[in-house]
C-alpha cells in the first residue's frame, strides 16, 4: 500500500466519499481544474465532473450560504475555505445559520455540511494565510470542530465528518500537509467523533494539544524522556466537543497539565481545557496548569512566525517547570 501524506489522505477520503455517496458535492475556490491551492482536491473534478466538484465565485460567505441551501435540499456539501484567515466573511452563515438550523426548525431542516480549511502557520506563507482560529468556531454550539494530526486521522475523521448529519468544521494543519507519510488504507472506515487520541503514554504530566503542533509536542516529549520525564500526550482531534473526561482521567493519574496550542492565548481553546480541569479536576492537580501558546499579538508575517508558534524548546521548558513545580 502506498504511503500517503496528510493532504493525499484528505484527497483519498474526498474521492471515497464522492464515489460512494451520490449526495456528496465539493465546492470552493480553485478546487476544480486546479485541484486546490494545496492540491487537496487534485484530480477530483476530472474524475467526478464539474457538477460534483465545483469552483465557486470568490466569496466565502456565498460558499457557506450555498452549502446551507444545498444541504437543506438533501445534498452533503463539502466546502473548502482556501485558508482559515478567510473564514470571516463566512461566519455569519456558519454561526447564525449552519450552527442553528436544526435547533431553529426543531429538526425539520438539518445540515450535513463539512467546511474544510487549512489551519495554522509555519509554511512561510503571506499574511492571513497562517491563522489558528478554532476558538471562534468552538464557542458556537451546534458545530463540531475537528483537527487531525496524521494522514490516517485525516482520512478517518474526514469520512466521519462527511457522514455526520450535522455541520462539521474540518481544520487541516498546513504544516503537516506534506510533512510525513503513513499507510492509509482506502477502506472507507471512519474514526469515531468526539474523542481525543492518545499519542504517547506517560505518568508524569498530561500534555494536551492538537493539529500541527502535536509534532513539536512529541519531539519535546522525546527529549524529556531522556530526562526521565514521561509525558502523556493527548491529541484533542475533536476540538468541539472536547473529550474532557479523557483529559480528566489522565490528569487524575499524572497530577499535572500542560496545554500547547498555536492560537493566541487569550480566550483560546487552552483556556477551556484548563478551566474545566480547574473545575472538575482541581483536586488532582499537583502543580499549576501551564498553557504554552501563541502570543496575544497578531500572527506575524512569516519571518517571525517561528518566534510566535511555540517551538520545541519553549514546550519542553514549560513541561519541565510544570513537572518540577
Amino acid at each position: 500500500m502506498a504511503k500517503l501524506t496528510l493532504v493525499e489522505a484528505i484527497n483519498q477520503a474526498l474521492n471515497w466519499s464522492l464515489t460512494h455517496d451520490p449526495d456528496v458535492v465539493l465546492l470552493g475556490e480553485d478546487i476544480g481544474v486546479n485541484g486546490g491551492v494545496f492540491r487537496a482536491t487534485a484530480g477530483l473534478q476530472q474524475r467526478h465532473g464539474k457538477l460534483r466538484v465545483q469552483d465557486t465565485p470568490l466569496a466565502e460567505g456565498l460558499i457557506a450560504g450555498m452549502s446551507i441551501g444545498m444541504a437543506a435540499q438533501g445534498l452533503k456539501p463539502v466546502a473548502e475555505i482556501q485558508f482559515m484567515g478567510f473564514i470571516y466573511p463566512a461566519l455569519d452563515q456558519i454561526c447564525n445559520h449552519m450552527a442553528r438550523m436544526r435547533n431553529r426548525t426543531r429538526g425539520r431542516i438539518t445540515l450535513p455540511i463539512v467546511m474544510r480549511m487549512p489551519h495554522g502557520g509555519g509554511i512561510h506563507a503571506p499574511e492571513h494565510h497562517s491563522e489558528s482560529l478554532e476558538a471562534l468556531l468552538c464557542h458556537h454550539a451546534g458545530l463540531r470542530v475537528l483537527c487531525p494530526s496524521s494522514p490516517a486521522q485525516a482520512y478517518g475523521l474526514l469520512l466521519a465528518a462527511i457522514r455526520d448529519p450535522d455541520p462539521v468544521m474540518f481544520l487541516e494543519p498546513t504544516r503537516l500537509y506534506r510533512l510525513a507519510r503513513q499507510e492509509v488504507p482506502d477502506d472507507g472506515v471512519a474514526l469515531p467523533l468526539d474523542q481525543c487520541h492518545l499519542l504517547r503514554a506517560g505518568d508524569d504530566v498530561t500534555v494536551v494539544s492538537w493539529g500541527a503542533i502535536t509534532h513539536e509536542v512529541l519531539l519535546a516529549a522525546e527529549q524529556l524522556a531522556a530526562e526521565q520525564i514521561q509525558c502523556e500526550v493527548l491529541d484533542l482531534a475533536s476540538l468541539s466537543p472536547i473529550d474532557h473526561n479523557s483529559i480528566l482521567d489522565s490528569v487524575a493519574r499524572t497530577g499535572r497539565l500542560v496545554i500547547v496550542h498555536e492560537a493566541a492565548r487569550n480566550c483560546g481553546l487552552g483556556a477551556e481545557i484548563a478551566a474545566t480541569v480547574a473545575e472538575r479536576g482541581l483536586y488532582s492537580l499537583h502543580a499549576p496548569i501551564c498553557r504554552i501558546t501563541g502570543y496575544d499579538t497578531v500572527m506575524p508575517y512569516f519571518r517571525l512566525e517561528h518566534d510566535y508558534i511555540p517551538g520545541v524548546a519553549r514546550i519542553a521548558d514549560g513541561i519541565r517547570s510544570t513537572v518540577r513545580a
Partner: protein, 358 residues
C-alpha cells in the same frame, strides 16, 4: 469611446390604483375564482396583521413585524410558486407562507419567541424566517444549485427588502445565480423604508431591479400593489428558471403601511403625507374595485369574508395560546442529531433551574 453593452429595466403594472386594467390581463386573471382566491388571502393577511398588533399591544405576543401594504406582493408570489419550490422568506411575507401552508398559529408562535413556530408542518422544505438581513440569499442560490444538480424542475424563491440590497450577501447570491444560471427568483420588496432609512439613502440606483445587471441576469420592476402584475411577472420568471433559463430579479414596488415592527414608531422619521398618499395605492382596494367593477364582489360578500377571516384568526389565536409552554429541554433536544456527552450535564442543570430565572 465605443458603447459595448446596453441594458434596460422594464416596469410592469396590470391593474392601476383605481383597479383599472392597464393592459390585457393574463389567463389566470380571466378566472374570477382565481382572483377571489387571491383577494381572500390578502384580506386574511390584513386582518391577521391587525390582530397580531393588538395581541402585542396587550402583552400577549412579542415584537411583531406587520405586513400591511405588502399583501399583493406576498400573495402574488405565493400564487406564482409551485408547492415543490422552496421559499426563503425574510420575516414579514406571511401572504406567501400562508399560501404555501404555514399556519397562522405557527406565525404567532414564532413571534412569541418559541422555536416551535419555525417547525412548519406544511411546506417542509421552506426555510424559516431569516433575521440576519440578506443571509437567506446565498442559501436560496444553494437550494437552486441542488435542484439543478438533481435535474429537478424546482425553483428557489428568495425575498429581500430594499434595505437588504445593501448587504454584500445579496449581490453574491445574484452573481452566483447568474454565473451558474440557477433556477432562482429573487424578489426585492421595495417598500420604501429599511426601518428609518428611506431607499434614496440606501442607494443611488434609480431602480433596485437594475442591481441584476451587475450579475448579468434580467431585472424587472413590478407594481407590488398589483397582485395580478406580481403574479404574472413572477410566473414568467419562474417558468424561465424552471426551463433552465436562469435567475431573475423582480423588484416589487410597494409601501410599508405600518411601523417597521411593533417596537418601532414610524412617525419619528416618515415625512408628513407620505403614509396617507401610500394608502391611496394600497393593494386590497384596487383588487376589490376591479372585482366589483366585474360584478364579482359586493358588500355582503365582503362582510362574509371578513367574518370568515376573523373566525380563522380567532381559532388560530386559541390554538396558539393553548400551546403548552416550552420547557428547558427544548434548548437541547434539537441541537445535534448525536448530542455530545458533555451536554447531558448542562441539560440537567437547566432542568433544575427551569423557571427560576428572572
Amino acid at each position: 469611446m465605443s458603447s459595448v453593452a446596453t441594458f434596460h429595466i422594464d416596469h410592469e403594472q396590470l391593474l392601476d390604483a383605481d383597479g383599472r386594467p392597464t393592459a390585457a390581463l393574463p389567463a389566470f386573471a380571466q378566472d374570477a375564482s382565481e382572483l377571489l382566491h387571491l383577494y381572500r388571502l390578502m384580506t386574511l393577511c390584513r386582518l391577521f396583521d391587525a390582530k397580531a398588533i393588538n395581541l402585542q399591544r396587550t402583552g400577549r405576543l412579542g415584537t411583531y413585524a406587520p405586513c400591511t401594504g405588502h399583501e399583493a406582493t406576498h400573495v402574488g408570489v405565493g400564487a406564482a410558486m409551485r408547492p415543490e419550490d422552496a421559499l426563503f422568506p425574510v420575516y414579514r411575507e406571511y401572504g406567501t407562507q400562508l399560501w404555501r401552508g404555514v399556519t397562522l398559529t405557527e406565525i404567532l408562535t414564532y413571534w412569541n419567541g418559541d422555536e416551535r413556530g419555525t417547525h412548519f408542518a406544511g411546506p417542509r422544505q421552506d426555510f424559516p424566517w431569516c433575521v440576519p438581513i440578506a443571509s437567506q440569499m446565498p442559501q436560496a442560490a444553494g437550494a437552486a444549485m441542488a435542484f439543478k444538480l438533481r435535474g429537478e424542475a424546482r425553483c428557489a424563491v428568495a425575498y429581500i427588502g430594499d434595505g437588504g440590497t445593501s448587504q454584500g450577501a445579496f449581490y453574491e447570491a445574484l452573481n452566483m445565480a447568474g454565473a451558474h444560471a440557477l433556477p432562482v427568483v429573487f424578489i426585492i420588496v421595495n417598500n420604501g423604508w429599511a426601518i428609518s432609512v428611506p431607499v434614496a439613502e440606501q442607494t443611488a440606483a434609480q431602480t433596485l431591479a437594475q442591481k441584476a445587471i451587475a450579475a448579468g441576469i434580467p431585472g424587472v420592476q413590478v407594481d407590488g400593489n398589483d397582485v395580478i402584475g406580481v403574479r404574472a411577472v413572477v410566473e414568467r420568471a419562474l417558468a424561465r428558471a424552471r426551463s433552465g433559463g436562469g435567475a431573475t430579479v423582480v423588484e416589487a414596488l410597494t409601501y410599508r403601511l405600518s411601523d417597521h415592527t411593533t417596537a418601532d414608531d414610524a412617525t419619528r422619521y416618515r415625512p408628513a403625507g407620505e403614509l396617507e398618499a401610500a394608502w391611496q395605492r394600497e393593494p386590497l382596494l384596487r383588487l376589490r374595485r376591479y372585482l366589483q367593477a366585474q360584478g364579482q364582489w359586493d358588500e355582503a360578500q365582503e362582510a362574509d369574508l371578513r367574518a370568515d377571516c376573523s373566525a380563522q384568526i380567532e381559532a388560530a389565536v386559541v390554538a396558539y395560546t393553548s400551546l403548552p409552554a416550552p420547557v428547558s429541554d427544548d434548548m437541547f433536544t434539537h441541537l445535534f442529531a448525536h448530542p455530545p456527552a458533555e451536554l447531558a450535564q448542562q441539560q440537567a442543570t437547566a432542568r433544575r433551574y427551569a423557571g427560576s430565572g428572572r
